[in-house]
Amino acid sequence: MEPLLTYDLGIFFIPVEESIDVLTPIYNYLRKKGYKFDKEHVIIEGIPVQFIPVYNELVNEAVLKSVEAKYGRIKTKVLGLEYLVAIMIQTYRAKDRERLIKIFEEAEVDLRLLRKILKKYNLHDKYTEFRRRYFDNK
């Protein structure tokens, strides 16, 4: 997908132990380091960062199967495109639908993998409805 304007960085993570408030230790650590907070964001070195604990099985699997990406010599991990599509099908907000349309127009989605994920998480009907509505099954 072509780069789009955004300002915040979302970091999905799998908590090491189950707890009601998994964010507090992270926030406490960052507060001690002197980073400031703004609503749901922590401003880390000038970048508004949001930490998001995995909130269901699909997001958990997406994090486990995230793919390596490099920024110069720095290695990082990003969610795979097919998982990102499945998550957006699941959440299906107006901005998700907008991004889904762009993804299917611009990017090369591995449809076999996508269908496998959608089937596993019972999202195939929702995806079919999306395709019917915006792409007319083309």
């Binding site: 072509e2 780069p3 300002y7 703004d38 508004p48 920024y71 110069g72 990082t76 611009e106």
Partner: protein
């Protein structure tokens, strides 16, 4: 209203360009994002000012 050939060519060109951009390496996409943030810096949007920062990386 019909779309004439020139307009069709423009639409095709834009689609091609977006496809090219979508295939760029991760670093290049981040660099473009920062460039977009710089360009948008001067545009005022009420109520959404605070986190509209240009990433310093």
């Amino acid at each position: 209203m019909t779309i004439n050939e020139d307009l069709k060519k423009i639409i095709r060109g834009k689609k091609l360009r977006r496809n090219e951009l979508s295939r760029l390496p991760f670093k290049d996409k981040i660099d473009i994002l920062i460039h977009l943030q710089q360009m948008a810096k001067g545009i005022k949007k009420p109520g959404k000012e605070k986190n509209r920062v240009v990433w310093k990386i």
